[in-house]
C-alpha cells in the first residue's frame, strides 16, 4: 500500500512522461476488479476492492469533467446499499436468531407467499442485505472508476472502423447534450429580457421551443460541416459483404455477452462460458475486420498500447485469477458468515490479488493535466 501511495508524487520525480493510459487498459483493469467483486460477499474483501478503486482514481484521474463524475458513482453506491437494506426491512425474507426489532406484519394473500411485509428483523438478514448491497455498490464503483479514468471519446475512437457510425452518433450526442443545457440557460435568461418570469408550464413552452429550434439548427449545421469535411466517404463494397459483416458482428457480440454472463454467474460451468466468450469475440473480430475494409479513414495520434497497458490488463486478470483460485481452495471464505454469525475471514490469496491490482496506480503513467 505504501508503494501505491507514492503514486501521487509529481511526474518529475518519477521521471516518466505524462500520457493518458489507453482507455481499453483502464477498462480491462476495472472489469477485472468488478468480476472479482462479483464473486464475493465478504465485506472485508469488498471494502478492500472499493478502497483500492478509490485510491487508483485519486492517483490517476485527470481534471476533466468526466473524471469528476466518480463521486456520483460512489453516491449511487451508497444509495444502493441503503436501498437494499430498507427493502429487506420492508418486504425482505427475514431470517436469523439475533432479533433486533419486531415490526408489525401485514397479512398477505396466499399467492404472495414468501413475501413478508414487516415482521421480525434480525441482524443476520440485515447484514446479508447490506453485504449484497455493498457488492453491487462495489461493482458500480469499478465501472465508475473506468469512466473517470478513461476519456469516453478516446475510447470511442479506438472502436474499429466498422463501428465508426455508432461511435459518431454517440460522440455527437455527448457533444450536443451539454450544449442543450447551455442553450436552455441562455434562452431562460433571454426570456427575462422580454419581461417574463419563466415559471410554470407556459413558461416552459416558451423555453422549449427556441431551445429545440436551436438544437435542430445546430445539428443541421453540424451535419453540413461534417459532410463538407468529408465525413462518410466510403469505399464501394458489395451489399452482400456489408450484410455479412453486420451479421458476423452482431452474432459475435451476442455470443460474447452469453459468455460474460456465464462468467459472472457462479452457477454456470466455467469452461462453457469461457468457450462462448472466446468464440463470440472471434466471430465479432472477423466481422469488424471485414467491415474495416469498407471505410477509408485514419486516426490522429492513436493511443499506444505499451507496457503500462499490458500491466493494467494483466493486473485486472490477476485479481480475477486470485479470486478463482480461492474459490477452488476454499470457497466458503468468499461468502460472509451469516449463519452462524461470525467475523468474516481474511483470505490471503484474494487480498494479495487486490493489493497487486492496486499497483496499477504506480505502473500507469501519470495523467496529463490541463
Amino acid at each position: 500500500m505504501t508503494a501505491a501511495l507514492t503514486a501521487t508524487a509529481p511526474p518529475a520525480r518519477t521521471g516518466r512522461l505524462a500520457r493518458p493510459l489507453h482507455p481499453a487498459g483502464w477498462w480491462l483493469w476495472a472489469i477485472g476488479m468488478a468480476v472479482a467483486a462479483s464473486r464475493t460477499t465478504n465485506p472485508l474483501l469488498l471494502a478492500l476492492v472499493l478502497s483500492s478503486t478509490c485510491l487508483v482514481v485519486a492517483a490517476r484521474r485527470t481534471d476533466s469533467p468526466w473524471a469528476r463524475s466518480f463521486r456520483l458513482y460512489l453516491v449511487l453506491g451508497a444509495v444502493i446499499v441503503v436501498g437494499r437494506v430498507l427493502l429487506h426491512v420492508v418486504v425482505g425474507f427475514k431470517y436469523g436468531d439475533h432479533l433486533l426489532v419486531r415490526l408489525p406484519t401485514v397479512p398477505l394473500p396466499a399467492w404472495a407467499a414468501g413475501i413478508t411485509v414487516g415482521g421480525p428483523v434480525a441482524l443476520e438478514g440485515l447484514l446479508g442485505a447490506a453485504y449484497e448491497g455493498l457488492r453491487l455498490a462495489t461493482l458500480i464503483a469499478c465501472i465508475g472508476a473506468a469512466n473517470a479514468l478513461a476519456d469516453p471519446k478516446r475510447l470511442l475512437r479506438t472502436l474499429p472502423g466498422a463501428l465508426h457510425d455508432i461511435g459518431v452518433a454517440v460522440v455527437v450526442s455527448i457533444t450536443v447534450a451539454p450544449q442543450l443545457a447551455e442553450s436552455v440557460l441562455r434562452v431562460r435568461r433571454a426570456r427575462r429580457l422580454r419581461g417574463e418570469r419563466v415559471r410554470g408550464l407556459r413558461g416552459a413552452g416558451r423555453v422549449v421551443l427556441p431551445v429545440l429550434q436551436d438544437a435542430l439548427d445546430r445539428s443541421l449545421a453540424l451535419a453540413a460541416a461534417m459532410d463538407s469535411r468529408g465525413y462518410g466517404r466510403i469505399a464501394q463494397v458489395p451489399a452482400r459483404t456489408r450484410r455479412g459483416t453486420g451479421a458476423l458482428v452482431l452474432g459475435g457480440l451476442l455470443g460474447s455477452c452469453v459468455g460474460l454472463y456465464g462468467l459472472l454467474d457462479a452457477s454456470t460451468p466455467g469452461s462453457l462460458s469461457v468457450t462462448a466468450l472466446v468464440a463470440g469475440l472471434a466471430v465479432a473480430t472477423a466481422g469488424l475486420w471485414l467491415g474495416n475494409r469498407r471505410l477509408r479513414r485514419s486516426t490522429y495520434r492513436p493511443d499506444p498500447w505499451r507496457a503500462p497497458e499490458w500491466a493494467a490488463a494483466g493486473l485486472g486478470l490477476a485479481v480475477v485469477l486470485a479470486m478463482l483460485l480461492q474459490a477452488r481452495l476454499d470457497p466458503s471464505v468468499l461468502d460472509a458468515p451469516l449463519q452462524p454469525l461470525a467475523v468474516p475471514a481474511v483470505p490471503l490469496v484474494p487480498v494479495a490479488g487486490v493489493l497487486l491490482a492496486t499497483l496499477v496506480a504506480v505502473v500507469s503513467p501519470p495523467p496529463v493535466l490541463r
Partner: protein, 548 residues
C-alpha cells in the same frame, strides 16, 4: 490560367420561394485568385458560397439549374463529402461547425476522414498551429475559446487538408480588429504563397477590399456582376469609407487601401487644414445627468474572472461604444448592467429613481426592468419563440403595454418590407436583429444595451441602425453598443470605453480614444491624419462649410 470555380448559367430556387435566390449566374474564378463576394444582406451570398462545394442543393434542398464545376468536378455528381479534399468551407459561426471538442482533434478531423497517414497528420497539425498561432490553445476545449480563437481554429481545421479552394462566409465578422487582421493576413498568405483560391463573403469591405483580385457583386434579384474591384466598386451598392471618400474627392482610379488613398489625399489634407476641425470642439456645457451608475462590478464564472471591478457611469443622451478584444468581458458586463446576468460583486444603480427610489435593475421584476434597461443579446433569436414576425410584434406590444401596431411600425422603420407572416427564423440575420431591436425598443427603455448588433449587417442596415440610435439619444435615452466595428463607432458613438481582461483600460470621447491608437483608428482618420477627422460625413461637412 485554369479555372478553379466555374458557374454556368446557375439559378437556385429554394423550395417554396417565389423568386430564385440566384438567377443565371455566370462566374469564373481562376486558380490562385482571392475573390470577394459582396452584396446587401439577404442578397444570396451564402447561397453562392454554398453552391461551390455542393451544400446547395445537396444539403439545403431547392433546385439548381445550370452547372457548377470545381477544378473540373461537377457538383451534380459530387456530394460535399466527395469534394472535401479540394474545397474547404468555413461558416459564419465557427462553433456550429465543430465536430470534436479540443483544438488539436478538430484540426485533425478532416484529415482523418480523408485517411491521411498518421505522420502527415502530425506534421500538418503542427504547421497549422504555427501558421495561425494556436500553440497555447492546442489542448483547450473548443467551447472555452473566445470567438476570434474559434474562428482561427475553424480556418485551421479546413487548412490541414490542404484544399485548393477555400470558401469563407464572413470569417471576420465576429472578430476584434487585431484578430481580424491576423485571420486576413493568414488568408492572404495562403493565396500568395500556396496559390489557394479563396472565395470570401464579407460585409466589412474596409478590411478586405484591398486584398481582393476580383469582386463579385450580388445585385437585388439574384443577378451577379463581377470584375476588377476598383472599377466595380465605383458603382457598387456597398462601399467602404475609403471608397466613399474617394468618390467625394473625385479620385480616379478609386483607391481601395488606406495606403493608396493617402498618396492621393495630399490636396484634400491641405483643404481640410484651412478649416477648423469642428469635431474636436469642447462638449457643450449642458448639465450631464447620470442615468446608470455601476461601481466595482465583478462577474465570475468558476475560476475565470470575466469582469474585474468595473466602474461605469452612463449619462443621458449618450452613445457609448464598448470595445475590446474577444473575451474581454464586454457581454458579461452588459448582462450584469441589465440585471438579468450574473453579478458577483459591486452595485448597479439606476438614476434618477425610475420607480421612486434609487434602484438596482437586478432587484426589479423583469417586466419593469426592461422598461428601464433593455438588452439585445448577441444571439437575438433567443428572444423569439413565435412562428411569425407579426405575432412577435403583437406580443411585444402586449408585453410593453403599448398600442397595437407600435412594434410593427418600429420594425417597418428599422427594416422595411419584412413580411409579417414570415417565420422569424427564415428572415435574414439583419432583419432578425431589426425585429429584436424593435421588440426591445417597444418598451422604450431609458438605457438600451446592444451586444454586437453590427455583426452581419451591410452598410445600409448599419446606417439605419445609426439613425435609430441617434434618434433615441436625441430623446434623452442612453445607448451602449458593444462592437468591433471601428467605422461604426466613429460614426455613431460619443464616447468609447475599451475593456481588456475584464477591466476598463480607456474611457473617453470617441475621437480621443480611437484616434489615439493605430489599431482602432478608422480609415478616414488614417487617410487625413494629422487632420483629426473620423468619418466621411465629417469631411463632407467640413468641405461644405469651407466652400460656403
Amino acid at each position: 490560367m485554369s479555372a478553379a470555380i466555374v458557374f454556368e448559367r446557375v439559378s437556385v430556387t429554394y423550395t417554396g420561394a417565389s423568386e430564385p435566390a440566384l438567377r443565371e449566374v455566370d462566374l469564373r474564378v481562376d486558380e490562385g485568385e482571392l475573390c470577394l463576394v459582396v452584396g446587401r444582406t439577404g442578397s444570396g451570398k451564402s447561397t453562392l458560397l454554398g453552391a461551390v462545394n455542393g451544400l446547395v442543393p445537396h444539403f439545403t434542398g431547392g433546385t439548381l439549374a445550370g452547372r457548377v464545376t470545381v477544378l473540373g468536378r461537377d457538383t451534380r455528381e459530387h456530394r460535399p463529402r466527395d469534394l472535401a479534399d479540394v474545397v474547404g468551407v468555413v461558416g459564419q459561426d465557427p462553433l456550429l461547425g465543430f465536430v470534436t471538442d479540443t483544438v488539436e482533434e478538430e484540426l485533425a478531423y478532416g484529415m482523418e476522414q480523408l485517411a491521411l497517414p498518421a505522420g502527415v497528420m502530425r506534421k500538418r497539425v503542427e504547421e497549422t498551429i504555427d501558421l495561425l498561432g494556436l500553440a497555447d490553445l492546442r489542448r483547450r476545449p473548443l467551447r472555452d475559446l473566445s470567438g476570434g480563437q474559434q474562428q482561427r481554429v475553424a480556418i485551421g481545421a479546413v487548412l490541414t487538408t490542404h484544399p485548393r479552394v477555400l470558401v469563407l462566409d464572413e470569417p471576420t465578422s465576429a472578430l476584434d480588429p487585431a484578430a481580424a487582421e491576423e485571420v486576413l493576413a493568414a488568408i492572404t498568405r495562403l493565396v500568395h504563397d500556396l496559390g489557394v483560391t479563396v472565395l470570401m463573403a464579407e460585409h466589412r469591405l474596409e478590411r478586405v477590399l484591398q486584398y481582393a483580385d476580383r469582386l463579385v457583386h450580388l445585385l437585388p434579384g439574384g443577378r451577379v456582376e463581377d470584375g476588377d474591384p476598383a472599377t466595380l466598386v465605383a458603382t457598387a451598392t456597398v462601399a467602404p469609407p475609403v471608397v466613399e471618400l474617394g468618390r467625394l474627392a473625385h479620385w480616379s482610379p478609386l483607391p481601395l487601401s488606406v495606403r493608396d488613398a493617402r498618396r492621393l489625399a495630399g490636396p484634400l489634407r491641405d483643404r481640410l487644414d484651412l478649416a477648423v476641425a469642428r469635431n474636436v470642439v469642447a462638449p457643450e456645457s449642458t448639465p450631464v445627468q447620470d442615468v446608470l451608475v455601476a461601481s466595482d462590478v465583478v462577474v465570475r464564472y468558476g475560476p475565470t474572472v470575466a469582469v474585474a471591478g468595473v466602474d461605469l457611469t452612463l449619462r443621458r443622451g449618450e452613445v457609448c461604444a464598448l470595445m475590446g478584444r474577444n473575451g474581454a468581458g464586454k457581454s458579461s458586463l452588459l448582462w450584469a448592467l441589465q440585471g438579468s446576468g450574473r453579478r458577483d460583486r459591486g452595485r448597479v444603480l439606476l438614476k434618477p429613481e425610475p420607480f421612486g427610489e434609487v434602484l438596482d435593475p437586478a432587484r426589479l421584476d423583469p417586466q419593469r426592468a426592461r422598461r428601464v434597461v433593455g438588452l439585445v443579446p448577441q444571439e437575438p433569436s433567443d428572444l423569439l419563440y413565435l412562428d411569425a414576425v407579426g405575432a412577435e410584434c403583437a406580443r411585444a406590444d402586449a408585453e410593453s403595454e403599448r398600442p397595437a401596431g407600435s412594434c410593427a411600425a418600429l420594425l417597418e422603420r428599422l427594416a422595411p418590407g419584412i413580411d409579417p407572416a414570415a417565420h422569424p427564423r427564415d428572415v435574414s440575420e439583419g432583419q432578425r436583429l431589426a425585429l429584436v431591436l424593435a421588440i426591445q425598443l417597444s418598451a422604450d427603455p431609458t438605457v438600451l444595451l446592444l451586444d454586437e448588433p453590427t455583426r452581419g449587417l451591410d452598410y445600409g442596415a448599419k446606417r439605419r441602425l445609426r439613425d435609430v440610435v441617434h434618434e433615441l439619444t436625441a430623446r434623452g435615452r442612453c445607448v451602449v453598443i458593444s462592437t468591433h466595428d471601428v467605422e461604426f463607432v466613429a460614426e455613431t458613438a460619443d464616447r468609447v470605453v475599451v475593456m481588456a481582461d475584464g477591466e476598463v483600460v480607456a474611457d473617453g470621447p470617441t475621437s480621443e480614444v480611437i484616434l489615439a491608437s493605430p489599431a482602432f483608428a478608422p480609415q478616414v482618420a488614417k487617410i487625413v491624419a494629422p487632420q483629426q477627422f473620423m468619418t466621411v460625413r465629417q469631411v463632407r461637412d467640413e468641405l461644405a462649410a469651407a466652400a460656403s
